[in-house]
Amino acid sequence: MNALLNTLRGNVRQYGMIIALAAIVILFQITTDGVLLKPLNVSNLVVQNAQILILAIGMVIVIVARHIDLSVGSVAAFVGAASAIMMTQYDFPWWLAVFLGLLIGTAIGAWHGFWVAYVGIPAFIVTLASMLLFRGLTLVVLKGATVGGLPEEFKAIGNGFLPEIGPDTGFHNLTMIIAVAAVAVLIVLEVRRRSAQAAYNFDVLPFPLFVVKLALLTIVIMYFAYLLADARGLPIVGLILGGLIVVYTFIMNKTVFGRHVYAIGGNVDAATMSGVNTKRVDFLVMMNMGLLSGLAGLVTTARLTAANPKAGVNFELDAIAAAFIGGAAVTGGVGTVIGAIIGGLVMGVLNNGMSLLGVSIDWQQAIKGLVLLLAVAFDVWNKRRTAGSGGAGAEAAEPSAPPPDKLAEEIEAMEAELSVDSNDPPKT
């Protein structure tokens, strides 16, 4: 029993924000008399928060690399405005406008990256300048007015849902199929990861807990899918978001680039002295944030069915808050994409739940501010308590699965190779 308690305690840090999210969901589910988790409301929750979650993914990477990006809201507004003008005034096809919008976002990100990485101006200053610059340019492009009349295909990016297939079951079939497939993939990956970790004698979750964890994950995903399927099915932005989460988790955990981001965030001098091209990493991180800002701008414009000069105001604050609530460290080097998503959901559920309760917008702001402070305080307290027990970098990399007996052989072979004695004889 004690061992179980210890394991739970050790995992509080990892799962703390998930527990907090669950608590907030339960709280609002009760206080709103079950409205929070009504199918239509859940569907709205996804659609309304997608742009913040997209930005949070980029923002957590920027924060891990010890920077910040204050311009994301203005850049999103500018890209939305530019694409709307392209479609309405120049009759560009919607796909071309989307492509060019993403390109503009990337170019703005590269502009930030140039100043931050190669000129050495702090990202705070560079993006503060852009926050003003692109808010101004948005007004210029839109001439201060709202531009609507966008093509249906474009609006579907923000408001559309996946098409229905198969017989009429009363539920959205495709959504349920996707959910079942996602659960299957998740279980296979988790089991493989666990057996690999066990093979290396790493600490793993005790088997019963592991089963409980998988069961909970399955239930949550299936219930979520059921709610969506009961309403209008999986929103297109939901699919985009899911894809981004998978891709960016992969990049941060599995690629050399992801390793380098964590390395420069953890200790930029040590990374430099290990041969990491820190400038290039900084540049790419800022450029990527521009790309995602552009995407968030397109999604917002599509959802609002018009480009608005005031779109995207305060997006940067929500995205930054999401990253920090999700466990990113101000000093860099720590943070995960999943964490930022959970942080974003905490903010989203708070917004939605308080709106349902009829809390006025001014009080909502105040409460969200306090939640941010408390969440980070909890994290700091938790870190101090379990000082030094691995960071996000430690969690970031887990081995894939080699069979155990093969492993022993390979380690032996490696040892032989590494033993400096057996290397080439000295040159004479």
Binding site: V256, A263, S274, G393
Partner: protein, 510 residues
């Protein structure tokens, strides 16, 4: 006349796992200039931190008697109130503030929180006159040269009604003229009754100015020499500083030395901020395959600067000269280029430059050679585990598993992780900067073994160390470095601690 102003009796200070000071005794007579000598890491600075309250009363054992009263300083403010002021090697001035603002920082001439600038500036002028510095007190400190900044520090000390002035390596960064001016100033202060304690590596200056010299070695006070009694010269001081037996602290090793592997020719490096200041001047050295070559030098001699300038110019500006590896000239403008060429550098600053402390062992081991682990888009984490596990066993890294955070490992095990990181890049030349700093004896022995094995495998090894016995026990050849100049080259058979120390403290720039 010779009543003691300060007595430190039986001072013992322990850090976790290390006894930094063991039963140190120091008696300083009123009105003297008292020098403290010892090798790097002997405990001089720790002793001064005990005295000035940086390590508060209660964290050490032993007594401090100052002006006849037992002192129990809890912090620097209290020791300063008693009249003890320490001037650190790295000056504690704020570059953007003016001379007057710096002098009265933390000690403002204020009434009810409002500063009386007129009075502050008038007093600053008086103080500057006393230290012989003719500058406007409104000048920002950043506009002053390092020598004048040192004088501002002393003026600041005087403003605090100093009775005992402690100077840690006051002339290390100064040129000859500035040094002489400073020493003359200390003698002037002495005449006005201010006692000084001076820590210095420059033995000629100590010989010139000190009344008494206390020698500290391995955290113990060895002896106090009185200059007035005669017979004190540099040789005598050096004997006291190094007088220790070479124990059997090194694994057996028979070197097998091949052709010249690596050469540095006419290497001159300028200071990164001040591109007219030579940090390394016309250095020439070579390392042969299978050879362990040492670089001996006092702190500030330019050892690390030399190593880092070689390692992809990660230090310095306007670097000139050439590097040859396997007879081919190298152009290494980045660290990446240096690693690719087959050079590895293990930094003296393990926590600052060697490791990402929030990382685990396996990601740290592979951090410098991730290229070797890449398969397609991804890092081959399977291979990574195999590699890291191999090094953990091979180098005997003591940790529960390779997923343990490196921040929690002991110094010795951290160093093994850093060595693994560089061994995995498969270098031809390894530069090891203070490879055993802060590491206990057992782990040192293991690390010496690793270094010897690396050499036996045909690699060249360049070792920088402050510990002369370490260099003598480990190296086949040793270069001495003083003030950025290579002053001598010793074969293992002809080097002794005394001969090394003589060339390390030589006045190289004359």
């Amino acid at each position: 006349m010779t009543s003691p102003i300060l007595e430190m009796r039986g001072i013992t200070k322990e850090f976790p796992g290390v006894k930094a000071l063991a039963d140190v005794n120091l008696v300083v007579n009123r009105g003297d200039i008292h020098a403290i000598c010892g090798e790097n890491g002997a405990g001089k600075s720790t002793l001064m931190k005990v005295l000035s309250g940086v390590y508060p009363h209660g964290t050490y054992s032993g007594d401090i008697v100052f002006e006849g009263e037992t002192a129990k300083f809890g912090n620097i403010r209290q020791s300063e109130a008693a009249g003890i002021v320490i001037i650190h090697q790295e000056l504690a001035l704020i570059p953007e503030l003016s001379i007057a603002e710096n002098i009265f920082l933390g000690n403002e001439t204020a009434k009810r929180g409002i500063i009386d600038w007129g009075r502050a500036n008038r007093e600053a002028i008086d103080l500057l006159a006393r230290v012989g510095l003719r500058e406007n007190p409104l000048t920002p400190v950043k506009n002053l040269g390092i020598g004048k900044q040192q004088l501002v520090e002393i003026a600041k000390a005087l403003s605090k009604k100093v009775k005992l002035l402690i100077l840690d390596e006051p002339t290390a960064a100064l040129n000859d003229d500035d040094s002489q001016h400073l020493l003359a100033l200390l003698e002037g202060l002495k005449e006005k009754g201010i006692t000084s304690i001076m820590i210095s590596h420059k033995l000629n200056e100590i010989e010139q100015i000190a009344d008494e010299i206390t020698i500290i070695r391995d955290g113990q006070s060895i002896e106090t020499l009185s200059v007035a009694d005669g017979g004190v010269d540099e040789d005598r001081i050096i004997r006291g500083m190094v007088g220790r037996d070479l124990e059997n602290r090194f694994p057996d090793h028979t070197p097998s030395i091949g052709e010249v592997l690596f050469e540095v020719r006419d290497w001159t490096v300028m200071h990164p901020q001040d591109s007219h200041r030579e940090v390394i001047r016309q250095a020439n050295l070579s390392v042969r395959a299978g050879e362990i070559v040492g670089i001996a030098g006092m702190m500030g001699a330019g050892r690390t600067e030399l190593a880092r300038s070689i390692f992809g110019r990660s230090y310095g500006s306007r670097t000139t000269g050439s590097l040859l590896l396997d007879g081919e000239e190298l152009t290494l403008n980045t660290v990446t280029a240096a690693i690719d060429a087959g050079i590895a550098y293990v930094s003296e600053d393990r926590k600052g430059l060697g490791l990402n402390l929030i990382d685990d062992i396996k990601t740290s081991v592979t951090a410098a050679a991730l290229k070797k682990l890449r398969s397609g888009l991804v890092v081959d984490e399977h291979k990574e585990v195999v590699v890291a596990e191999g090094y953990r066993k091979n180098l005997n890294i003591k940790a529960p598993s390779i997923t343990a955070g490196v921040g929690k490992l002991s110094g010795g095990n951290q160093q093994k992780v850093v060595l693994s990181k560089w061994m995995y890049t498969d270098p031809k030349l390894l530069i090891l900067d203070e490879p055993t700093r802060g590491i206990d004896v057992g782990a040192k022995y293991e690390i010496y073994g690793i270094i010897q094995e690396l050499a036996s495998s045909g690699r060249g090894v360049l070792v920088i160390s402050s510990e002369l016995p370490e260099l003598l026990g480990l190296c086949d050849r040793i270069y001495t470095l003083a003030e950025g100049v290579i002053t001598h080259e010793f074969d293992r058979s002809e080097a002794t601690q005394e001969s090394l120390m003589r060339y390390m403290t030589a006045d190289a720039r004359k």
